[in-house]
Symmetry: D2
Subunit: 307 residues, 4 copies
């Protein structure tokens, strides 16, 4: 046979599970989008269509919902670990499981103020508004021995309205760009970070606290860096995380440079003193890099944008 099968994986993608936990009248939400990808001894289903080794994708979906009840959802990472372990240890033909999770965050609707007309209004504790900022991400991979946990976020839009320059670059025959000494720097952060927890014997990180702190360090580094290039800012964001979070060894960023062009108002007799900008869509600069703890191996795939 002149063709052979290479890497392959399958499972149910985008299982939208919402878990409500009731602590008396106070409710808590976890809102996840869970995707399962399994691989192992799957040659026959590709070559002949025999499903003898195939746990249906429908079953992987059922498992996601059942586990939300059986184990609860303490964190996206912990939930993914339960799922990955189950698939690899319960099905002989499955040698590896990869669980990807998106998490959407919610905050409470405040109802206790004086304007509330609700009769006998105590604070309502079962009402939520979706936060709608970044989407939190995690990916759990397990092969029966080692764990790889890569968490991250996407769609976090940030802007510095000053403290950004860009000059001193290469100029070739196609270069027309003017140097800038005070520009807006804005990006939509997509980031992934890899934990050095790989083994059931190690102490597991506090996933919730780790996320909150990593996000904070990233934002503060963005705000506090006086930027000579988006590459420099990117590096500072990654280094700040590595330096502050010992559980993380590697960070990858994909940062579109969301251009805000100063509008030329001179034709109208007006001076634009870094006040009025046109927010452009396409094209955009795209800056991507990995920052590593010294001595550690890079394992996060470099491609977060795809062909």
């Amino acid at each position: 046979m002149p063709t052979i099968l290479g890497q392959n994986q399958y499972g149910k993608a985008e299982n939208r599970v919402v878990k409500i936990t009731r602590d008396g009248a106070t409710h808590h939400i976890k809102d996840l989008n869970v995707s399962v990808a399994l691989s192992g001894d799957m040659d026959e289903v590709h070559y002949s269509g025999s499903n003898a080794n195939v746990l249906p994708t429908d079953t992987t979906k059922n498992t996601v919902f059942a586990f939300a009840k059986e184990y609860g959802i303490e964190s996206a990472e912990q939930f993914g670990i339960h799922l990955a372990r189950h698939f690899v240890t319960s099905q002989e033909p499955i040698h590896q499981a990869r669980i990807r999770i998106e998490e959407y965050s919610w905050e409470r609707i405040e109802t206790s103020d004086a304007n509330s007309k609700f009769i006998g209004a105590d604070e309502v504790k079962h009402s939520f508004v979706r936060k709608g900022q970044e989407t939190r991400l995690t990916q759990i991979t397990y092969d029966g021995e080692k764990w790889e946990v890569v968490s991250g976020l996407k769609d976090l839009v940030v802007m510095n309205s000053t403290n950004s320059e860009f000059w001193g670059y290469v100029k070739d025959k196609y270069t027309t760009l003017q140097e800038a000494y005070d520009r807006i720097l804005a990006t939509q952060v997509s980031s992934r970070w890899r934990f050095n927890w790989t083994d059931d014997e190690q102490k597991m990180p506090n996933w919730e606290k780790s996320y909150e702190q990593t996000r904070k360090h990233m934002l503060q580094a963005f705000a506090e860096t006086y930027s000579l290039s988006l590459q420099q800012t990117l590096y500072q964001m990654g280094a700040r995380i590595i330096n502050n979070r010992s559980e993380i060894d590697e960070v990858r960023f994909s940062l579109p440079n969301k251009h805000h062009f100063l509008v030329d108002l001179e034709p109208f007799g007006l001076k634009n003193d870094n006040e009025v900008y046109f927010a452009a869509d396409r094209p955009y600069g795209l800056i991507e890099a990995t920052i590593l703890r010294d001595g550690c191996e890079a394992r996060i795939p470099v491609d977060m944008t795809n062909l």
Copy 2:
């Protein structure tokens, strides 16, 4: 000629203007998406292609950016009023202007905590993260005499995890739905409200405060209503606004019922005590209605979803 021209309008849509205001080291952002639609004496351009009465859409774009400098952006509503007045009063063939604005809100990145490594870190006052929740909307219409201001929001996602029932409905031969006595009620609010300010002689509302309070009343009514149907909740949301905001005479809602289906876990020997839900995409219920101050006329078009 057997065909005639009916209503028509034209202009530049989606002008993305960002205005930075510097108050010393403290910066402020306004981030708008402005669409201009003009109408008037425009038969000839349709019939013969004569542009003699046509102010180019490119000019309307330039005007948006120039006005951000000339007038600043105090609020989306005030900015739209400046623009609409300009087009109608400066161009004889233009009899009516409609300015639509989307506004994206930003909050400051906090940098003052103890973890911040910035040397000599005072709080940074030029760094922002996009809030990413609802999009604020306004539409200003001016015909040279009267103003119509319709503001609103879209994409505000809310959920009550209890205090919602649905029963006692009509059952015909196609009805299979089971009655529900404790369900999740979730929706993605799209709302528009019309102000009773119509005349330059009237005192203008405080647009920023009005928006903030209207949004708050809407959210609180959603949270505090014990719901027997999404229609009932919708009505309470509108009535709460009309009763608390004297500047508003009419509210329209388009509320998709974002179904969260309780997952049947019995096949797995598990009991689902209102804990685990499947968040469905399509189809969805769609509930739409207008709430009016008694004696006022309905003027907001009923269709917010389009053919």
Copy 3:
């Protein structure tokens, strides 16, 4: 009570129904997205939450799927007519039904050529590829007496690479645009057209043929018009339809001017002789108008883009 209920409607939106018809080994597809909106005697559900007059949206969904079996799907229009008639005539509190349908078209995968390796390959007649061009639309409204049928399309992207000019326009202090004597004219057509069939006594149009012919006339008018403005082209597209299709009395267009800017290559020592263009996203001109058969009333809402 100081607030009252205005116009309201409800139903299940975006029911995705696919109907396969088997004519021996030859299969046929209809692929629709059906949205139901009902209105009538619905005050109580808004005021008190009583669902006594409410046919559940879930039932309207079931009806869509059941009718695909009971009546088949001859055309989107005919299918919508069956549904609208059913809801209005079978439920006393429902006084009006509006059915909106999107239709996705498919074409057959060709398998009969010499390269096909299929053993004993006759042409396969059950394999399809989605056409992926415009989405066909229709909206059926019925109040128990009169019908209104508005059909249309969206997302049909067209371009003329010459025979378009733009000059002779108004110039004010904000005008910087240069006149153009040979430009690209491109747009993404969104159009709706209203039929003069309103009564069961009238002969019903051939909906499938009408759509095909209306689309063809629209495209040909776009191609054949030497354009001095997009408004002129729009008018010709509408007039061509009215003049050729006696079943249609009114056409509405919403045409974004998808700007293709000639790139300035002079800084690189190159001459751009109407060859290389930058296809821009935002902002864009937006040209909207209604064309009517003389003597007919305009009934299609002017707003196809929404606040």
Copy 4:
């Protein structure tokens, strides 16, 4: 310093270039979305913000537009090869260039039929309608010595309305799926294929013909395979390409199983004889695999969906 820089790249993404070629009155279009990613000796810009080695992303944008004039756009692949060679050979610090291109196809608007009212209408040869089916893709990577060309497509939606079964699978405690002996098989094809052209000394493939033939073989294999699992169909699609196109050594697919669920019409007294289906959105099965020419190395990254 405890942190180090890993893999990094930068450039201007999504340059939307449209090239018109005039052959007398007959015009031709190429419509591309070009993304440039450069890497090399870029440590300093990350560590210190020095841009001394950085060719601005704005310059890479200018180069795309200038090359459309200088070299024309014979095919997306050939255009990418010109660009990649330029960046690597003209800038010493740049060691590798990766050019990604999306191509949108257009077809002519037909105007020659009898219904055309155009006075003296010859066929119009400058009017186009966007085809709107799949998006064609290519990625060119060059390091100064070797080329890697990976082409592909996305968003090609296909369906077989019969000749698909699914049974004989593993059943565990979470399995509830019923076996199916005649189901709809539908997917939205995302595929990439790698050419064995790697060297300027080799004869270059005919990129346009290769795309057309590869697409045809893929579609025919989908149509002609009697399917016992989507994995089996996927393998047949890849094998058909490898067996028929000697210029291609590797194919990767990411195939969502777009579920069409047979609707249960029994509650309404109706029998659903494989006629009426509900087209579901989420969750969906996701089947991914690589097919290789025997003896060849797999080089296409396995992840086409991303974390």
